[in-house]
């Protein structure tokens, strides 16, 4: 049997961790760039915004190209109703031809009275089976968006969602590096205890390991506990 450590897996774990180390800042930046690009891409658009929602529909991150979009957006999440929430929940593109004659979200439409917002188009951001949030664009005139614009925004939302799904998982690397750290610490402890037994009883490394395993079986402890005990019993500091 080869005496090499199984480091192939470790190096791929480390590579994964490095690739995944994206900060909250990067998520916000990506969302901002996407909102700006959506505004540019669809003719007649006054402003664009993106909201990322958790599974309960709470906003985790958002970006808007303008103050107006920001206000229209915030109103939706405060009132708990609006085209983007519907787009997110129903996983369908929502087209509002004119906010002033719209009846689906009465409270939100009333709140829009003073804002120069008439047309709204909102499409869900879905990656795989996950609904990440919604992308929306607003226009100052009614009837700006139609089926054609819907299709365009959906085309835009596909790759945007894939990108965001990868940027979003900021929790993942933390979890991976925690388990890697624990694994290495434990392995190190076992190696040290094995060395102590080798020296103490004149054993080979494999025999010392077997000895540890049989102690674990008789004492009903875990290998790590047994090893920690052996190490703790060594008088370290003198005086």
């Amino acid at each position: 049997m080869s005496k090499q450590l199984p480091l192939d897996e470790l190096s791929s774990v480390i590579a994964r961790v490095k690739g995944l180390l994206l900060t909250e800042e990067k998520v916000d930046r990506a969302v901002q760039l996407l909102a700006a690009a959506a505004k540019q891409a669809i003719p007649g658009t006054l402003g664009a915004g993106i909201s990322l929602l958790d599974t309960q529909g709470r906003r985790t991150s958002s970006a808007a190209t303008d103050k107006i979009v920001e206000r229209a957006d915030t109103a939706q999440y405060e009132l708990g109703q609006g085209p983007c929430l519907t787009a997110w929940a129903s996983e369908a593109t929502i087209l509002v031809e004119d906010v002033q004659t719209e009846t689906r979200w009465p409270e939100w439409c009333a709140a829009m009275k003073d804002l120069p917002i008439r047309s709204v188009l909102s499409t869900p951001l879905t990656a795989g089976k996950e609904s990440l949030g919604a992308l929306k664009i607003y226009a100052a005139q009614p009837g700006i968006y139609d089926g054609e614009t819907s299709r365009l925004l959906q085309l835009f939302a596909g790759p945007a969602a894939t990108l965001l799904a990868n940027v979003q998982s900021s929790e993942t690397p933390r979890r991976i590096s925690n388990s890697l750290e624990t694994a290495l610490y434990s392995r190190d402890t076992v190696a040290r205890a094995t060395g102590i037994l080798m020296e103490r009883h004149g054993l080979s490394s494999d025999d010392a390991m077997q000895e540890l395993l049989s102690r674990v079986r008789t004492d009903r402890t875990t290998l790590l506990e047994e090893c920690s005990r052996i190490i703790a019993a060594i008088p370290g500091r003198r005086g």
Partner: protein
């Protein structure tokens, strides 16, 4: 490559234990690596499928890793007997939300 005596049986029973505890080969490998296991995940996977032979020490380390994972799972909740419930109510004053806790 030859298989040692009992190796196949040891492997089969390990597989059975993993299956009933719902432990994936990846989880097993990480636990095995953590306690000083010397072969890679790929080889462990092949061993589990009966395609690869491992020395006794490595097999026992895998068994040890599996058992530690199995013991780490919290036991299933037990159904209480009436008497046990009475005891705990008397002692803790449950149901009155701390206001009448015995001291």
């Amino acid at each position: 490559m030859g298989f040692e005596a009992h190796e196949e049986e040891q492997c089969r029973l390990l597989r059975k234990a993993l299956k009933s505890a719902d432990i994936t080969p990846a989880d097993l490998w990480l636990a095995y690596f953590s306690i000083g296991g010397a072969v890679g995940e790929y080889e462990v996977d092949a061993y589990l499928q009966g395609l690869f032979s491992l020395p006794m020490l490595q097999r026992d380390l895998l068994a040890c890793a599996a058992n530690e994972l199995i013991e780490a799972v919290p036991p299933l909740p037990r159904a209480p007997y009436a008497e046990e419930l009475e005891d705990s109510h008397d002692a803790g004053g449950t149901g009155t939300k701390n206001s009448k806790r015995n001291t």
